[in-house]
């Protein structure tokens, strides 16, 4: 958890979570961003020529695109003062024992191997820019499932990779997807073959651990026809004094009758700018579900989206945002109905406290010809004190026939009646408030695997301790 009871992480974060380990890097590119650095990254990785060219082209696009003028204030980001590539160890580890000791120490505190031993399918933990630890259960290999880091995938599965990379989110999509395509490193690559159902969630941890370290992971998930996979992305980061930039791109292709669920618990320390593009394409009768929790970072701008490409496709976004002191969570979801008879829902729950700001920003677009679509958006916001702020910006564009569209939102504080009820039964005020907040986000927590749900409840408790007025 990046945030402590007082959201100002600079204070007691280190003692509480203290994941900080001394920097010890095999390769550290120079600060700043120019074609030489991009070429160097590509050369270091031994990439094919097409990828080097794509990176350079994306860098040009990044240079040309203006900064977004909406959403959070991004003017403080200094792109020239960031390391765009680090490699913490020069070789992929096959087992936990082979990991460098300081990295191991960090993960031990996160409980990664513990979790793996219990029931995880594979761990692909990202320490800095590249996946250093990776394992895959034999059963999955036999099923033909590929679960690897994205750099290895480019090397080992070049055809599959080239067919899909950058097709869901082209470099020119937005300024930050261009940046990511230019300097991406690490991330997860998953391919699930036809009809294969992966019955245990696949997960990877992402870490940032160098001052001014930009992390630009790139995730690509392909669910072939009739398959199912649940991928979990969790983040945590140590303390830093200057701002860090995290700008990931996640592309997902969900083919006919397949289902993909992507769960995120974003919990960067509160000096990180988290600007992420996440998008899925869902084909006939496919289901895409984003379960997206944003707790950390200074500024998050993230709107997981689903392009509903063929009839029967279904998109679902369940989003939770928690903003404390100095934080702005600008999150939401986008549903782009390209085909008729497609359905989508967005449920957003946000909590603001100690001067934090949460904004729901969403877009429902129904293209001409995408008739008989249904879309429903529900946003609930809880304001815990009178310094905090909540906004709702739902944009809806309907250009098709016989469309049913609904939007509902409420903003409120912890209700006095609920508090009174709990307190009259002898529950102290602080505990009662925590219970109410946990109840508020319950639709989210109940979708999480058990250990995440437990962790999230604990985090909320920490945030709430003695802090709600």
């Amino acid at each position: 958890m990046a945030t402590a009871p007082k959201i100002d992480v600079g204070g007691d974060y280190k003692e509480k979570y203290g994941f900080f380990v001394p920097e010890d890097y095999v390769f550290k590119a120079k600060r700043g961003l120019n074609p030489e650095i991009v070429k160097e990254i590509s050369w270091m990785k031994g990439e094919p020529e097409w990828m080097t060219k794509m990176r350079l082209r994306s860098l040009e696009i990044f240079r040309k695109k203006p900064m977004p003028t909406w959403g959070a204030d991004l003017s403080v980001i200094d792109f020239e003062n960031i390391f765009y590539y680090l490699k913490a160890s020069d070789k992929q580890s096959k087992s936990w024992e082979e990991l460098p000791p300081d990295i191991k120490a960090t993960y031990d505190r996160l409980g990664v191997p513990e979790a793996e031993r219990k029931f995880l399918a594979g761990v692909s933990a990202q320490y800095e820019s590249e996946v250093v630890y990776h394992s895959l259960q034999e059963k999955l290999s036999q099923q033909g499932v590929i679960f690897t880091d994205t750099d290895s995938a480019l090397r080992d599965h070049p055809e599959l990779f080239k067919e899909y990379f950058g097709t869901v989110i082209p470099p020119a999509d937005n300024k930050f997807s261009a940046l990511n395509t230019a300097v991406w490193s690490g991330g997860s690559f998953i391919y699930v073959p036809k009809g294969v159902k992966v019955d245990i969630p696949l997960q990877a941890y992402f870490r940032i651990n160098a001052e001014n370290m930009g992390q630009f992971e790139r995730t690509l998930i392909i669910c072939d026809e009739g398959s199912f996979v649940h991928y979990i992305e969790g983040c945590t980061a140590p303390i830093y004094t200057t701002d860090s930039l995290h700008s990931a791109v996640v592309e997902i292709i969900v083919k006919k009758n397949a289902r993909c669920r992507y769960t995120t618990i974003q919990n960067w320390s509160t000096n990180v700018f988290n600007l992420v593009t996440k998008r899925a394409m869902a084909y006939a009768d496919a289901t895409m579900e984003w379960v997206d929790g944003n707790l950390g970072s200074q500024i998050t701008m993230k709107y997981p989206s689903v392009y509903l490409m063929e009839p029967g496709a279904k998109g679902d976004v369940l989003s939770v945002a928690f903003a404390g002191k100095g934080q702005h969570q600008d999150a939401g979801g986008k549903m782009i109905h390209v085909a008729p008879n497609t359905t989508s829902t967005i449920t957003s729950k946000s909590i603001s406290k100690a001067g934090g700001r949460t904004s729901y920003r969403g877009h429902i677009k129904i293209y001409p010809g995408a008739n008989n679509c249904k879309s429903f958006v529900k946003c609930d916001a809880l304001l815990l004190d009178d310094e905090s702020r909540s906004d709702t910006y739902p944009y809806n564009d309907v250009d098709a026939e016989n469309v049913t569209l609904g939007h509902e939102a409420t903003v409120s504080k912890v209700s006095d009646e609920q508090l009174f009820y709990l307190m009259s039964r002898g529950i102290p005020r602080a505990e009662a408030e925590t219970m109410i907040v946990n109840g508020f986000i319950e639709p989210f927590t109940k979708e999480l695997p058990l250990e995440y749900a437990v962790e999230l409840n604990r985090l909320i408790q920490l945030e709430m301790e003695g802090s709600v007025g």
Binding site: D385, D386, R389, T392, Y393, P394, V398, L405, E408, A409
Partner: protein, 397 residues
Amino acid sequence: MAITSETLDQLQGEPRWLQDVRRKALEAYDRLPPPSKTDEEWRRTDVSRFDPSQFSKLEHRNGQKLVLPSALPRGVILKPLRQAAEEHPELVEPRLFSLVHADRDRFAALHAAFFTGGTFLYVPDGVEIDTPVIGQHFSHEGGTSVLPHTLIVAGTGSRFNYLDEYIAEDDTETGYRTGSTEIFLGDGAQVGYVAVQKWGRNVWHFADQRAELQKDSTLRLFNVTLGGKFSKNRVEASLAGEGANAELKAIYFASGEQFFDFHTLQDHRVGNTRSDLLFKGALSDSARTVYAGLIRIEKHAARSDAYQANRNLVLSDKARATSIPMLEIDNNDVRCTHGATVGPVDPEHLFYLRSRGIPEATAKRMLIQGFFGDVLDRIPFEHARRLVEAELEARIG
């Protein structure tokens, strides 16, 4: 209209201060850029083909028909706005375009520079008027500009109802039309305001209705939009005194190729204020509507209660409704809810009625009437309610 200061010469004999207001507005018009497609307010609203210079003749410069209550209480001033500007500058000058700012955008500037007709109503402290005051704004010919402006000042504890009717004599005429209103509610004032826009189906219409509510005042505003090939309407309430209560309701019925745009604002500037907004519209043929509303609760506006809903009934395959309800909440001790729906007639409701032997066309009509029914009940006074019901009846057919 030819957008030059010569056009202003059509409006001779006005006091100096008003000439200055108009000249400044014209300067603002020249200075302000046309709306850009990247501007959120205008992204879905196309004004590129609006050319005011086609409509250079200003119609009814000398006010409009006022339906006066038989006897107005003492101290009440009810006059054409231009006449009031001359006779009561101390009341008009500080208020005119102080809520509806002339430099807000090109269209507000154009309206302020060339407004012609319009009404000034001043109701002194403690005065109540039982019968509604009615301002009827007629357009008599096509190709002209008809730009009425209503300015209403409600004194402390006053109570009255006012109706603005925008009426076309010929439903097919082209032209440039506006109908803006500024309402000032003093402490404890109770004002019912209804605007019924039924211009011809080929005109461009721009209107800004904005009210400022002081302590414990109540505004019941009802907007009816039926006419125009293009209608852009901003309805805004600024809750400036504790205990203020604004009810903002509207209905619209768009058919043919009509395009209606509504932007609303419920601005809770102080605490203990209440606003309740409901905009309901039906669309048929290839009509299009855009609704975008914002509830803003400012930092110290604790214990505010705001509600906002936009409901669209889409009656044909080609009609399109866009609805964007927004919230910006800066205080936690509030209750704030909004909702928006866009959808066709509920097939289950239709099935229910048809299964009881009601023909489809009749059943559909009943459902449309039912859709509007709950909001029609909120029209603040009887005369306006009957008028609106008759207009709607004629259109639902």
